[in-house]
Subunit: 438 residues, 2 copies
């Protein structure tokens, strides 16, 4: 058997300790699969003394994580500190420029600096892998980069945030509203104390930007993702959607829009959507992640699994380590960085869909006429309209009107809602969600 | 860009021509991802003259496929002729011993001769890849070999035969019996003229033996798969299962059984099972394939997609070719052949489950007492028993009795059925199916 594959590890939170535990638990099996033992040589974390339930005495300690880049004899550095910039980015840059490969679970860093880091990796002949950055141990990047490498990717759709999906699934079952459900999810450990990155869609947007870059051969464009989170979804919307035969899910979606005479433009969106019951993503329940990739040859490929957790994230990280130890390095973003095109952003207003619109309105005559007129003036054709008798917002005292539209461009929907802005009849901001593929 | 990666192709049926078409359609994208152009240099098929809708004039022609092994300058040979032995095996052996890598979609050959071929590949320093042999373009081998490489695999469950799943799904919808549904499936092209390999479980068993070898680090043991097909499943069973809250699916399943003081033994089975509605495989509908892999770190990972078809199979084959062109070769069965253990076969009789048993019995007093006595004598405890008023078999004139049992070892179920063999009350052979995980 060859020499050990030697690692430095930066970050000793739940993910970092999970990696150490995995490397220990499955050491024999990993050595067999990698063709050589895998060994952590040096570690770094914010505080050295903290009890992590793991014996650190066998590892060289670095106070400054960036020093890992210089520890002698390392083959690769694992970065699980997190953060878009700061120490994580410093370490990645330092390691790559020292010719050391980097394995990271840091979706924010890759979504934002992935192109620069891919260039640095290639320039230094080092590898940069980040399987765990998207859906933790669910090997979707692997699948896109290798398993579907023969395909032109036509569309990527995913449920990429486990917390949001857990909350929407729980609201479905309990009939409770977002606030109570979030509090319960926080109590159970499915949501962070600060849930913004999850429920407002940023986390899913990071993952989508990485998937889109890999799938379409583009530089990651996180800033180009249009994002809406799930805070405004009410239990009443979920109940209404269910009566119409739909589930509500936070869907991340990317595709290329053809433009005559120009390169196709990239459309990347994260927002709550209505999914018909037979949509492959409609059945994804609880804190699960799932990605549906449409290949021109393979047809739709669905891959689903846990999207978070210490062991699952370690699974993704160590899979990358095994690939490196085997000498299976590839271009970080599937094709050489120099060939990654800059994504032109598509106009999302032109994209047509059926829509679900929900209003909370004052209970008085003429309100429906006002809604209908705004739709007509914006050239949105109403398919069905449901006025709920009961009030949905005891404080505001409004009643709920939900409607579905025929296919219309997103800009017409926005126009209709803009026409209603400032109306005395509308008690709170309306919610619009597209109805996917039915 | 480097020199072209040069291929020979044996077999010009729908899959072989699909490969040529894919390599042509996606040539630029493949060259970018592989880092070099991919080029077919020589081809072989049974008849040269046949019109395949493809121009073969640019390829060197070999009457004997084994001659591809000697064509100068080839990097790899693609084998899509099929057949466990014969020309396919001859070509694989000849290519590998000439140091040429082999890519094949031939599940029968790999399930039967995979170990020998893996040894030959390693001895010659060549690669042997067979992604398309299991679930066509759905990259499950890739996922097992690379994406889940950090995991001890605890169990593999799959819906591995699209024809059987299509038929069971269609019976569910139409309420028609197996015979009519098969005929319809044949008419629509979802079933072969000779459907035995599909509906009797052999095809799924080939795929399972390959998955189990990869997942558990064992030599493939196709002969060790216990197989039951779907011919005996009636529409009445599907209706009865549905009333009880279950779907019937042909499930392939492999796991390791711990044995005190000995290496774990391998249990591999393909048979129709009752799946609770929330089982991840219960929702797999139509000609789709799906594999659920339980990793000790990742938790359950589901991957699903088309399991057959010209383009989907070509997608799997060309993904292997891209991996080879990138220099990403690995041990054919994830670990070096010398480390693959010989699978000891587990005793399936010891495995406990709840069971669904269906009898067609004569309509006369005492029959239920006879069934109940056999169950009692075999120490099988009945959970519920449903006697259908109407006859299920107009010819035989019997009536249907379906029962579910409490958990019992498979050998007790077999014992109960053996006790009823030869009984005058039983009009046709009974059907038993396990009820999975609920």
């Amino acid at each position: 058997m060859s020499d050990a594959f030697k690692l430095g590890l930066a970050g000793l939170g739940t993910v970092g300790t999970g990696v150490l535990r995995l490397l220990d638990d499955n050491a024999d099996l990993l050595a067999a699969r990698a063709g050589r033992p895998i060994e952590v040589v040096a570690v770094s974390a914010r505080t050295r003394g903290r009890d992590r339930g793991i014996d650190l005495s066998g590892y060289q300690w670095c106070d400054d994580p960036a020093d890992l880049a210089q520890v002698e004899g390392l083959d690769a550095v694992i970065e699980v500190m997190g953060g878009t910039d700061g120490p994580a980015l410093d370490l990645a840059r330092a390691s790559l420029s020292a010719g050391r490969s980097v394995v990271t679970a840091n979706k924010a860093m890759i979504a934002t600096h992935g192109f620069e880091l891919a260039q640095a990796a290639e320039a230094a002949g080092a590898a940069l892998l980040f399987e765990a950055a998207v859906c933790a141990g669910t090997p979707i990047l692997q699948t896109m980069r290798d398993g579907l490498s023969a395909n032109r990717i036509d569309r990527i759709e995913g449920i990429l945030n486990g917390t949001s999906n857990y909350i929407l699934s729980a609201m479905e079952r309990s009939g409770e509203d977002f606030g109570e459900t979030l509090a319960e999810a926080q109590r159970l450990g499915y949501a962070e104390a600060d849930p913004a990155l999850d429920v407002d869609g940023g986390d899913a947007a990071h993952k989508l930007a990485i998937l889109a870059a890999l799938g379409f051969g583009l530089r990651p464009d996180f800033a180009g993702v249009e994002v809406n989170g799930i805070r405004d979804v009410r239990a009443a919307d979920i109940a209404q959607a269910e009566r119409l035969g739909y589930k509500i899910r936070l869907v991340a979606m990317a595709d290329l829009v053809d433009r005559p005479g120009e390169a196709p433009a990239l459309l990347q969106r994260v927002r709550p959507c209505l999914l018909p019951a037979d949509h492959l993503l409609a059945g994804i329940d609880g804190p699960t992640n799932a990605v549906l990739t449409l290949g021109d040859q393979s047809g739709p490929i669905l891959i689903q699994g846990a999207g978070a957790g210490s062991a699952a994230t370690a699974s993704g990280i160590v899979a990358d380590v095994v690939a490196l130890a085997r000498g299976q390095a590839r271009a970080p973003l599937a094709v050489p960085a120099g060939q990654l095109a800059v994504a032109e952003r598509a106009d999302s207003g032109a994209r047509e869909a059926r829509y679900y619109l929900r209003f909370v309105v004052a209970d008085r005559p003429g309100v429906l006429a006002e809604l209908a007129a705004a739709m007509r003036d914006a050239r949105v054709s109403i398919q069905s309209l449901i006025q709920e008798g009961e009030g949905v917002d005891p404080e505001a005292g409004g009643i709920m009107v939900a409607l579905t539209t025929h296919r219309a461009p997103a800009r017409n929907i926005r126009d209709a809602l803009a026409r209603l802005q400032g109306s005395q009849s509308i008690v709170e901001p309306p919610l619009s969600m597209p109805i996917l593929q039915d």
